[in-house]
Amino acid sequence: MAKYQLSYFNIKGIAEPIRMLFAVAGVEYEDIRIQPEQWPSEKASGKYPFGSMPILVYGDIKIAQSFAITRYLANEFGLNGKTNLEKANVDMIADALKDIGEKIGKLFQEQDETKKAEKLAEIKRTDVPTYFGALEGILKDNKGGDGYFVGDDLTWADLLFFSQSEYYPMMLNEDVLISYPKMKALRDRINEHPRIKEWLEKRPKTEY
């Protein structure tokens, strides 16, 4: 009986929404974490289609690219909306979360402390209101915003949001969601989801 194998570094990063999908779906998998010193030989082995992680292997199936993996599993587990339109809304939200996530991540890598503070102020002034304002609006438009981003059920867009929100206090120096009450409530709601709660308790504790 084939078992899902997910390979990534020993961090949360872009694999964490995938790990959360497995948790919510209650599906077993091998959570392979490659150490930095192992990576060069792993990469050279030819196992990774684009020389990068994460990858998902399941019998004859091999998928690279984090969103391709996440979407595949979400489709398999019924966590990707019900119609093509719902799936498109999930995709759109996920792509937007990825965009703002990358902007935040990039500024976090700035070494010069003065520049970093400037960029941080700038992002809080422009990108955060643009993206989070839009996301809050989309959430509210979905039956008042007390459920999930799309449709009536949890989708991988909600898990991606939750996973990214774990970084906001560290990278933005504050819990930026205080200004976006529906998103904050969604984050808190997912935090209390029994299978997420269980995963948060048992997962390896890593800084990132």
Binding site: P49, F50, Q65, A68, E76, L85
Partner: protein, 208 residues
């Protein structure tokens, strides 16, 4: 009869893959192209979910984010792959070309001449060859690479590739596809499909 409106700038850019999907599927749509001077008004109009283009409007619903749009259209028209796994393989390949596009944007808008030359060189000698090799391997793994990227029929992975080659062939000296005969053959095969051929012959000629 569903009414589709696709809005983008006066170019191929991030909308062309969707235009190719419409063409391949033989589905009519309004191909709205706006000048840069009209963009500020549209951006603040609230019509674009995240204030970006391309924008797809269908039956009163708005979808943003280029790949959310493309994947929706592909799902609606049967150009997305047949199983969840085929769809994942399509995603993986499409993302590879999206990443190439993102890399091109980096040097296209770089104002520092020296930096621009450096980024362009890195793209042409490292990044593009690496990606093209990886996708050619995936093509070869599908029936020896004599058909399409995924399954037995054309999917939007082939169309994302075609859209990408519009930009790659502009680097005439680098001859990027010459080193990958199976990819070049695929490009010709997809370009020769009657509905695609017609679009390529009749679409507006634009610099980007």
């Amino acid at each position: 009869m569903v009414k589709y409106t696709l809005t983008y700038f006066e170019g191929r850019g991030r909308a062309e893959v969707s235009r190719l999907i419409f063409a391949a599927a033989g589905v009519k749509y309004e191909d709205v192209r706006i000048g840069f001077d009209k963009w500020p008004a549209l951006k603040t109009s609230g019509r674009c979910p995240f204030g970006t283009l391309p924008l797809l409007e269908v039956d009163g619903k708005a979808i943003g984010q280029s790949f959310a749009v493309a994947r929706f259209l592909a799902n609606e028209t049967g150009l997305a792959g047949k199983t969840n796994y085929e769809k994942a393989q399509v995603d993986m390949i499409a993302y590879a070309f999206k990443d190439l596009g993102d890399e091109m944007v980096k040097f296209a808008f770089e104002s520092d001449e020296a930096k621009k030359a450096e980024l362009t060189k890195k793209f042409l000698t490292e990044i593009a060859p690496k990606t093209l090799s990886a996708v050619e391997k995936l093509l070869e793994a599908n029936n020896g690479g004599k058909g399409f990227f995924v399954g037995k029929e054309v999917t939007w992975a082939d169309l994302a590739f075609l859209a990408s080659t519009d930009d790659l062939v502009q680097f005439k000296d680098a001859k990027l596809l010459a080193a990958h005969p199976k990819l070049e053959a695929l490009r010709q095969r997809v370009s020769a499909l009657p509905k695609i051929k017609k679009w390529l012959e009749t679409r507006p000629e634009t610099p980007f």
